[in-house]
């Protein structure tokens, strides 16, 4: 059974600092997704990572995937308050085309 673990679950940062969120998964998968969720809102797609070594960047966020280590990272550069949200990674279960297994989410708070 595929398990997805994120850490940390809670992260309080100061503006301008850098930090990394980690996403480990337990079995082989060919797809990993990162989402952002604001309170009371739905999930906003950030990145889709499809191959080993994939790296994608959007603004202050950069995601990478190491399929051999079963690890994805979401790196935050020079955090700003607007990045405060909950970030989820999700991995497609093997043999499935629709069963995304989500991590518990990382609640990020960026303080001035």
């Amino acid at each position: 059974e595929l398990k997805v673990e994120q850490n940390p679950l809670f992260l309080s940062m100061q503006e301008g600092k850098n930090y990394t969120i980690y996403c480990n998964y337990s079995t082989t998968s060919d797809r990993l997704y990162w989402y952002r969720q604001d309170p009371g809102k739905s999930l906003e797609s950030l990145f889709v990572l499809l191959s080993n070594g994939a790296v994608k960047q959007e603004g202050r966020l950069m995601a990478s995937l190491d399929t051999k280590a079963r690890l994805s990272t979401l790196h935050i550069t020079a955090a700003v308050h607007d990045l405060s949200a909950t970030y989820f990674c999700a991995v497609m279960a093997g043999g499935s085309q629709g069963n995304l297994i989500f991590g518990k989410g990382t609640k990020l708070s960026v303080k001035p």
């Binding site: 797809r31 997704y33 989402y35 809102k41 739905s42 999930l43 906003e44 797609s45 889709v48 499809l50 989820f88 999700a90 279960a93 499935s96 085309q97 629709g98 069963n99 995304l100 297994i101 989500f102 518990k104 989410g105």
Partner: protein, 113 residues
């Protein structure tokens, strides 16, 4: 519309009643997914459609839950004889193809009292 559209956005129902939740995916998206999100269980997969067929319905929690999709477009999730533990946000999502970005709707907030 531009995004995945769900209705109703909020529904309060009495225990034992049936509810129907509707999802209108992004035009042209062949894959459609239902998930639910609750405080205790996090985000859980329910069912996946490719066109009108459901190759993976492994996440439906009981036979009180069913879903259909017609015309390769609109989908309806039906919960019969609702229970309090069914209270959650039901999220619909769609994608152009199975390896593309999966876009989520705003969700239907269901409260069973």
């Amino acid at each position: 519309g531009a995004g995945v559209s769900q209705s109703p956005s909020n529904k309060v129902t009495e225990k034992g009643k049936d509810v129907e939740l509707r999802c209108d995916p992004i035009s042209g998206h062949t894959a459609l997914y239902w998930y639910r999100q609750s405080l205790g269980q996090g985000l859980e997969f329910l069912i996946y459609f490719q066109g009108n067929s459901a190759p993976d319905k492994s996440g439906l929690p009981s036979d009180r839950f069913s879903a259909e999709r017609t015309g390769g477009s609109v989908s309806t999730l039906t919960i019969q004889r609702t229970q309090q533990e069914d209270s959650a946000v039901y999220l619909c999502a769609s994608s152009l193809a199975v390896r593309n970005t999966i876009y989520f709707g705003e969700g239907s907030w269901l409260t069973v009292v």
